[in-house]
């Protein structure tokens, strides 16, 4: 591992074709970041972590595609495994909406939530398209992978990448990782593994992901939105405000119509005929803002 230099973009290249699902990355992450464990949930598969959340900043997905009645050996395609993590997007939805400035882009071009600034509003959780961020209920702040910001500052590679025994998780400068990924996917294609594809290595997904993947199936299978669905929250600003503006205008028009139609008689028991009082003849001047 070469020197880690501030000002350069760093990230992960996760090659799912060589992931063996050992979960060493999960353990290393928890150990270094002192994340608490929780009761494992045992279902049909080997995934007892469940999801990325405030306590699990790495999550090894086990995507079970074994047919109920297998007639072939599966050719190694029956299981898909992927060590999922925060993508550290170039155009990060979480960073975009954060109202407090707690989410920043670090000197290593990673996306980091400052625990001392976050006030737990959870806008970032609603925005992250990958479901990465969750509230730490004990600390009252949003939490996710920091790409081992503290280790990077000390010149050390992230714990998960260091622990990965198959080099499924590779850490380095993003430019180098992209070259390496391109070579790897080309090699797989040459070997006839045509389903191999890169996700997030180019700008089509959120301007490029600093933590990108080599996948063995469509992104949706891994719970990743495809390029068409990788959209930023602010796309709805213009439409949302415009609709509100049009509604406001219609509300004003409706209000003015209601006020103009007041001359019609109204019967209110115990009250003087209001619309008569309100006629211009009876009341020569409008109030016109003489009170507030």
């Amino acid at each position: 591992m070469a020197d880690i230099t501030p000002g350069q973009a760093y990230g992960f290249f996760t090659d799912t074709s060589v992931c063996i699902g050992c979960k060493a990355c999960e353990v290393a992450c928890k150990e270094w970041n002192q994340l608490p464990g929780h009761e494992p949930a045992f279902g049909d598969g080997y995934d007892n972590t469940g999801v990325l959340d405030a306590e699990n900043w790495r999550h090894v997905q086990f995507i079970d595609r074994v047919p109920d009645e297998a007639s072939t050996a599966g050719q190694g395609k029956a299981w898909l495994m992927m060590s999922d993590v925060c993508k550290h997007c170039t155009h990060a939805s979480c960073l975009e909406v954060c109202p407090t400035g707690a989410i920043i882009r670090t000197e290593f071009d990673t996306v980091y939530i400052q625990p001392s600034v976050c006030n737990g509003c959870r806008d970032c959780i609603a925005a992250c398209p990958y479901g990465v961020i969750e509230m730490d209920k004990n600390k009252g702040v949003a939490q996710k992978c920091t790409l081992c910001y503290d280790r990077l500052q000390g010149g050390l590679e992230p714990a998960c990448a260091k622990a990965c025994p198959t080099q499924s998780i590779q850490f380095g400068p993003v430019i180098e990782l992209r070259q390496r990924a391109e070579e790897r996917v080309n090699k797989l294609h040459d070997q006839g593994v045509t389903e191999a594809r890169l996700y997030g290595a180019d700008e089509s997904v959120y301007g490029g992901l600093n933590a990108f993947f080599l996948l063995m199936d469509k992104p949706e299978v891994y719970g990743l939105p495809d390029a068409a669905n990788a959209v930023l929250p602010k796309r709805n600003n213009v439409g949302g405000y415009l609709t509100t503006l049009v509604t406001a205008a219609l509300g004003v028009i409706g209000g003015l119509i209601a006020l103009r139609r007041r001359r019609e008689p109204s019967v209110e028991p115990g009250a003087p005929p209001p619309d008569d009082i309100a006629t211009p003849a009876a009341v020569p001047a409008k109030v016109g803002g003489d009170a507030s």
């Binding site: 509003c121 495809d226 509604t247 109204s266 209110e268 309100a278 109030v287």
Partner: protein
């Protein structure tokens, strides 16, 4: 919204629940009531002033609840002020992100708070609840052109407060919320419907405000029509996104039904009497008790609509 292809969502819910639901409800009522108050002052007659003050008296306490609910909803309530001030080391100072509705909303609440507090104080002075000569003079500062500008800006802020909450939901990647751009308008229309119903009932309890009762009857008929139109737009936008089923699944469909029932009194009046406040119409709502029940029905509908939108997406 993404073309005509169904949207994919892998996002986690932000766990915005009861505090946020009631914040949206009271923000709608406060903003809506303040807007109606401003409308009466800007375009009504002198006899509408008591009803306009009533609008302020409703808007102010409804507003006071809002920051309390928002603060309680935070994971770190004592850091509520981080919405306005960036405490990042080396980057300290005010923070405003025009592209983040939560940031814009935080500042708008501060500004609206200023307007509504001053207006509330002025209303108390003018109603002689507060009798201090100095304050009489201060209230006089809002006469004439200054008052018109004050009411105009305040009314616009009221509209924003009632509607931006819907934009806040839409500016996310949540299913349902982010699949439509109609929520801002829908929440605004709903806030106006609720405010008109509440004030339409309250004007019967303030003798000098009854002169505006017929105006509120018409408000109560027009705003639900606007709300219904936006519900239709909301539905039409969710169909191509493929999230209509999620928004209207059981039990949320029950909340939608309650929301629609809340629109019935106004829409029924519009169908039967249009905008004419006839003798028959007045007889139908002659009893203030009946008006109270109608008002409650409408307000429950306003709450149910927000609950359906908030909970169905998470």
């Amino acid at each position: 919204m993404i073309g005509l292809a169904e949207a994919e969502h892998f996002v986690r819910g932000p766990d915005w629940t009861w505090y946020i639901l009631f914040y949206f409800f009271f923000a709608g009522l406060s903003g809506g009531s303040y807007f109606l108050s401003g409308l009466l002052r800007l375009f009504g007659n002198r006899v509408d002033e008591p009803a306009a003050r009533l609008g302020i008296y409703v808007a102010f306490p409804a507003f006071l609840i809002c920051p309390v609910l928002l603060t309680l909803d935070l994971g770190q309530p004592l850091r509520f002020w981080h919405m306005l001030v960036n405490t990042t080391p080396g980057d300290e100072g005010p923070i405003f992100k025009y592209w983040s509705p939560m940031s814009v909303g935080a500042w708008a609440l501060v500004l609206f708070g200023l307007f509504i507090t001053v207006s509330f104080g002025a209303a108390l002075v003018r109603d002689r609840v507060i009798r201090v000569r100095l304050l009489d003079s201060a209230a006089g500062l809002l006469d004439g052109v200054r008052g018109k500008i004050w009411n105009l800006v305040g009314a616009l802020l009221g509209l924003f407060i009632a509607g931006y909450t819907g934009v806040l939901l839409a500016v996310s990647n949540q299913p349902v919320w982010s699949d439509t751009w109609a929520l801002g308008g829908l929440f605004l229309a709903s806030g106006l419907t609720g405010s008109a119903a509440l004030l339409g009932w309250l004007v019967h309890h303030r003798a000098d405000a009854r002169a505006s009762a017929s105006v509120f009857v018409r408000f109560e008929r027009l705003f639900p029509l606007l709300e219904l139109a936006l519900i239709v737009v909301f539905v039409l936008l969710l169909i191509p996104a493929g999230t209509l089923g999620q928004a209207f699944a059981f039990p949320w469909i029950l909340l939608w039904l309650v929301a629609l029932v809340g629109l019935l009194p106004g829409l029924g009046g519009l169908v039967t009497s249009r905008l004419t406040v006839t003798g028959e119409g007045a007889v139908a709502v002659a009893s203030t008790r009946a008006i109270a029940w109608v008002s409650v029905l409408v307000l429950v509908g306003v709450l149910a609509l927000r609950a359906a939108v908030i909970f169905s997406a998470q």
